[in-house]
């Protein structure tokens, strides 16, 4: 059951974004920014977390989930450490996603070359 929900919810988010891409001139970079910020805002409003509990990977794998995690980390850091947490929470929460992408992408540059499209 959790697989079905993940498929439907994750698919639905992607489908909505595809409609956005096809109907506007939004570039992919902009779309990624919008997704992350939307996730953050929904997280701050307390809406994303219950949604993520229900949808599982369907809500956590899309970049909106990444945005939600960002705010979640921010909130935890503020609760625990007060003001200084404002400058810690974001990176703490996104550390795994950003570090893994940076590290693996860098390593990939050792092994792979850019390829011609056909």
């Amino acid at each position: 059951m959790d697989y079905l929900i993940a498929f439907l919810v994750g698919g639905a988010i992607c489908a909505v974004v595809q409609i956005l891409l096809d109907n506007t001139k939004l570039m992919p970079g902009r779309v990624m920014v919008i997704l992350v910020c939307t996730g953050s805002v929904l997280g701050a409003l307390g809406l994303y977390e219950p949604f993520a509990k229900w949808a599982g990977a369907g809500a956590s794998v899309p970049l909106t989930g990444f945005g939600n995690v960002l705010f979640k980390g921010m909130k935890e850091a503020i609760d625990k450490e007060g003001f200084i947490g404002l400058f810690k929470g974001g990176f703490t929460a996104s550390a795994v996603g950003i570090s893994s992408a940076l590290i693996f992408a860098y390593i990939a540059s050792w092994f792979f070359n850019s390829k011609m499209k056909s």
């Binding site: 001139k25 011609m116 499209k117």
Partner: protein, 352 residues
């Protein structure tokens, strides 16, 4: 020409020249990549290389190599040495024309490096013909190149980045085309074949109809082609049927439709004799190239192979060759500017 310019001036109308010391196109060469070789014109190219790197390390070096091969080939076909060439007029799409500077450095020919985006071949041939007609050069080599990967990297995304191309997007041609233009004393005539001559040119202005979509270059350039072609008709006092073919550079399917529409409403019907290099060079269905081919190389190799042959064999008597360019950069795009276009027309005839 319908109406010969008087002896004092070679200027025609507002933007055109009618040459008097007719420049001859004595040889052409075309170098193309794998995808181009699989297209409808594939068998006509002089050199085809399946290696997109052309044996080099980077996309930029690869493009320089393509240009070098095209220059060497055209010299060989004309039986000339680099020292026989007075001027080289050339350009490409890479920033600051690095494909040209590194590609032709070894040839040691005096260079005019020019930028007209994908219209560069028209510009290079125009300037070459002017030099020859004016007696400033006996032989000129005009050359342009483009490379799909280098253009993607510079203007769009890294090649391995996952994105979808809209139907209006074009596919940058990997290739380089070169022509040698000479005066009448240095023409090379071969028996049974016509001489190909440049009769005149119409130089385009920057034309901007306010389109901002860099993924729809055809629409950005069509107004430029429209204005140049219309001006050509007016300056020379001719009708579309004067030409066997009106050959635009890389408007693609979208741009070609717009051009025909615009000219139609200005009272000129070119729907019967219009052809677009971007449409000819790829098979849209099987090669998934969307709107068609583009890039400096697109019009250059189509002219150097397909069009030149038709003129040589007298199948076409007179063509108007109109490479089109979209004048944008990453910066102008990011700063929200429009994408202006330019188009340079060259009147080419087969003689004898």
């Amino acid at each position: 020409m319908a109406e010969k310019a008087n002896n004092q001036t070679k200027m025609m109308g507002k933007q055109s020249i009618s040459f008097q010391n007719t420049p001859y196109i004595v040889a052409t060469s075309s170098v193309a990549g794998k995808k181009e070789s699989e297209g409808p014109l594939g068998s006509l190219f002089d050199i085809v290389n399946d290696d997109p790197m052309f044996g080099k390390d980077t996309w930029e070096e690869a493009e320089s190599e393509i240009m070098k091969e095209a220059a060497d080939k055209v010299l060989m076909k004309a039986g000339l040495a680099n020292t026989d060439i007075r001027y080289l007029v050339g350009g490409d799409l890479l920033g600051q024309l690095i494909a040209t500077s590194f590609g032709i450095a070894e040839l040691k020919i005096p260079l005019f490096g020019i930028y007209g985006a994908c219209s560069t071949m028209g510009e290079a041939m125009s300037i070459g013909a002017i030099l020859v007609d004016g007696g400033y050069a006996d032989r000129v080599l005009s050359i342009t190149s483009s490379h799909f990967a280098g253009a993607e990297k510079q203007f769009r995304f890294p090649l391995d980045y996952g994105n979808q191309r809209p139907y209006s997007a074009s596919w940058t041609v990997t290739g380089s085309g070169a022509v040698i233009i000479t005066d009448t004393n240095h023409k090379i005539s071969s028996s049974g074949e016509a001489d190909v001559v440049i009769k005149g040119i119409t130089t385009g202005k920057i034309v901007d109809y306010g389109v901002k979509d860099s993924m729809n270059m055809g629409a950005c350039m069509a107004p430029a082609a429209f204005e140049t072609i219309k001006q050509n008709f007016e300056d020379f006092g001719v009708q579309p049927t004067y030409y066997d073919r009106i050959i635009t550079g890389d408007l693609g399917y979208v741009g070609a439709k717009i051009l025909i529409d615009l000219l139609q409403s200005a009272g000129y019907d070119i729907s019967k004799n219009h052809m677009d290099c971007g449409i000819e060079i790829f098979d849209q269905e099987s090669q998934d190239t969307h709107a068609g081919g583009s890039g400096c190389g697109c019009s250059a190799i189509t002219f150097a192979s397909f069009v030149y042959k038709k003129l040589k064999t007298r199948e076409w008597k007179r063509v108007l060759f109109v490479p089109t360019g979209a004048l944008l950069s990453q910066v102008s795009f990011n700063e929200g500017k429009t994408v202006p276009g330019i188009a340079h027309a060259v009147v080419i005839e087969s003689e004898g």
